[in-house]
């Protein structure tokens, strides 16, 4: 009887495995589940991936996870990452290629307390600034290099702290300024009781040091393989459909993101504000299309480093429109 049960179970598993025609794909996100990735969660929950014949696993990121490292180790097929981190990893030998650029504008900014006395970037000298690492430090290092401030070693002009997941360093006055995103940490400061009049922000876009942020990346081998390239194109088409839907139906998108948040840490209010801000970064132009001019601007910003450049030479073949064009069909 037991033997029969085992045989039936195994046959059932094999048959069901063969019967599902869905192609598997793993997406590694850059941060925890939040409205920053609404498009992908919407595409999953509204069935856009299923329609395209894909079974997509969305892996949330976090403070200790660098998506470039995950794909280098084979833990994902496609990742959401920022361009500086992807280009730096490409230079290290991992052949990452940009297949789509979802965010057109940068949301990164340095937020300082007004009572610390910082008024302009020239006031940063001798101050304590908080920065995230794990791939998020490149735009900051590039900006400091442009200003001519040494961040490490003896006689460093600015003191840099490796920031954690929260905004405590600014609240506790352990840092004069911290890195924030227009859609996340800035609102965490407001929600914790600080008033906008008490803060002064320096947007990377305004400082001329903005770099391209959330984009989709895959390895060269995946793009060269016709079957995988087709899967990626279908994935991109469904994801962009998800983003379009999320921007037009923001309340529903927020609800979907909250449903997918396994940690339960996100709140409706915070995510609604985030969705609004994210929409501002995604809108405009062709959805998901990487403008070569924007790519060149990012590369120039990264290359013009005096002492500590993020990348040392111009990347070749770091992006392709092939997948985006297939996704338009």
């Amino acid at each position: 009887m037991k033997k029969l049960t085992v045989i039936v179970a195994v046959t059932g598993a094999v048959v069901s495995g063969l019967a599902s025609a869905q192609d598997k794909l793993t997406l590694q996100l850059k941060w925890v589940t939040q409205a920053q990735f609404a498009g992908y969660y919407v595409a999953k929950d509204k069935g856009f991936y299923k329609e395209a014949g894909l079974d997509v696993t969305v892996k949330a990121g976090g403070p200790d996870i660098n998506p470039s490292q995950v794909i280098a180790g084979g833990g994902a097929d496609v990742i959401v990452d920022w361009m500086p981190s992807a280009l730096a990893t490409r230079e290290k030998g991992v052949p990452l290629v940009n297949i789509a650029q979802v965010f057109k504008r940068s949301g990164m900014m340095l937020t300082c307390r007004k009572d610390s006395g910082v008024k302009t970037p020239q006031d940063f000298k001798g101050r304590t600034l908080g920065v995230w690492f794990y791939g998020n430090e490149y735009p900051f290092l590039s900006w400091m290099d442009k200003l001519g401030y040494k961040t490490s070693g003896e006689g460093n002009a600015v003191k840099v702290l490796k920031q954690g997941f929260n905004v405590d360093p600014l609240l506790q006055k352990q840092a004069d300024c911290i890195s924030t995103m227009t859609y996340n940490e800035y609102w965490q400061l407001i929600e914790s009781g600080m008033k906008p009049e008490q803060l002064i922000v320096f947007k990377y876009e305004d400082q001329g040091v903005a770099t391209l942020e959330d984009g989709l990346y895959a390895v060269e081998k995946s793009i060269a393989d016709p079957k995988m390239a087709d899967k990626l194109a279908r994935f991109l088409k469904a994801s962009l459909k998800g983003w379009d839907y999320a921007i037009k139906h923001q309340d529903e998108a927020v609800k979907i993101v909250l449903d997918n948040d396994a940690s339960g840490a996100q709140t409706k209010g915070h995510q609604t504000t985030q969705m609004l801000e994210i929409a501002k970064l995604v809108e405009g132009g062709k959805l998901g299309y990487l403008e070569p001019a924007a790519y060149d601007r990012t590369v120039t910003t990264l290359l013009t480093g005096k002492s500590d450049p993020v990348i040392t030479k111009k990347p070749q073949g770091a992006w392709t429109h092939k997948i985006w064009e297939s996704a338009q069909k």
Binding site: Q69, A72, T89, V131, S152, P169, Q174
Partner: protein, 364 residues
């Protein structure tokens, strides 16, 4: 005769290595390597003959040293290695057996001191050598396991960065936290011994505090003491407190009843008994705790740095560079941390030897 058998097997393997190509081409393409290989075989054959031990040892040593150069010379060339170089691996296998024979001879060298260190030192160097040859030969990706030459290169070129990291983590956080933690544990143990009422309360509470994992208290201490080395020292204090407390309490109970009775018969006060009998008797236990704490302190400081630090420190360097896929830097930091921890332990062991030479464990 087993030694001779080992030697024969080594010779056999190395000769077999000649029959098969050592890499893309044949042995003749690398004449210098071929010459060295012949010298190795000669040395090994001579070592088979049962002359006096010294000649045997000398010829084996030459064979091993020259034989070590052969794979390095072959690997400098182009052409595929790995599965396509059976000659190289056969030769290496034979060389390993020859090394084994040589090490077993060296481990029987008379004389303590430097003589006893030769075999272990050679073994260590041989391990590094094999790591290098295997990683280069099988083209292991650098992100999985870098070669010792790459790690050495990083250590040499980024020495100034590592010195600052070492100063931040070890000289500031670890030493300060270790000193405070051990002293606090010691003092509380002495108080708990004097006032048993306090002891009954403090011991379980300290046990509770020590059971809290580092990853839990580190972020809290960063919030209390700031991002700099002070919070890391605080973590080290919490981690080193309990082992010292427990060991000192046990040590204070180590002076047996007969000895305490003798002091009582001399009308010694509590303080005199403590200082002249019980503390010296407790020293082996105190040093035990200090040795345990030396390695714990370094681990605690490095782990605490993962939770918020200025951009310097051994723990910060590991976490930042592993995310940038600079695995050779990570290995270099691991090497520094391991060396620092071992030397810290060694220094305490030496002080222990000087202070507790009278203990039975040091006889013979």
């Amino acid at each position: 005769m087993r030694q001779g058998g080992l030697q024969l097997l080594a010779l056999g393997l190395m000769t077999a290595g000649f029959v098969v190509p050592p890499m893309g081409g044949s042995w003749l393409a690398r004449l210098l390597a071929l010459l060295c290989a012949f010298v190795t075989l000669l040395g090994a054959t001579l070592g088979l003959r049962r002359w006096d031990a010294r000649a045997e040892g000398a010829s084996d040593l030459i064979a091993v040293l020259v034989g070590a150069a052969v794979p390095l010379m072959l690997l400098e060339g182009p052409g595929p290695f790995g599965g396509a170089a059976p000659g190289l691996w056969l030769f290496l296998a034979g060389w390993v057996l020859l090394l084994w024979r040589m090490l077993s001879m060296f481990s029987r060298l008379p004389g303590g001191g430097a003589g006893a260190l030769v075999a272990p030192a050679l073994f260590g160097v041989a391990l590094l050598y094999l790591w290098q040859v295997l990683v280069v030969g099988f083209a292991v990706p650098q992100v999985l396991l870098p070669a010792p030459s790459q790690v050495g290169h990083v250590l040499a070129t980024q020495f100034d960065v590592f010195w600052l990291d070492f100063r931040q983590t070890f000289l500031k956080a670890v030493l300060a936290g270790y000193a405070i933690g051990c002293c606090a544990g010691f003092l509380v143990a002495v108080i708990a011994d004097r006032v048993p009422f306090l002891g009954r309360g403090l011991l379980p509470l300290s046990g509770l505090a020590s059971a809290v994992p580092i990853v839990g208290i580190a972020p809290i201490l960063v919030m209390w003491f700031g991002f700099d080395w002070h919070s890391k020292a605080a973590v080290v204090v919490v981690v080193t407190f309990f082992p010292m407390l427990v060991n000192t309490l046990t040590g204070l109970a180590a002076a047996d009843a007969m000895q305490r009775d003798l002091m009582h018969s001399y009308a010694a006060s509590y303080a005199q008994t403590l200082v002249k009998l019980r503390l010296p008797a407790a020293l082996p236990f105190v040093f035990n705790a200090m040795k345990i704490n030396s390695t714990l302190a370094l681990i605690a400081a490095i782990v605490a740095e993962f939770f918020g630090s200025p951009i310097l420190g051994l723990g910060f360097r590991i976490s930042a560079e592993v995310a940038r896929l600079n695995v050779d830097v990570v290995w270099a930091v691991i090497a520094i941390a391991a060396l620092a921890g071992s030397m810290f332990y060694g220094v305490i062991a030496l002080v222990e030897r000087a202070a507790t030479f009278w203990h039975p464990s040091y006889r013979a």
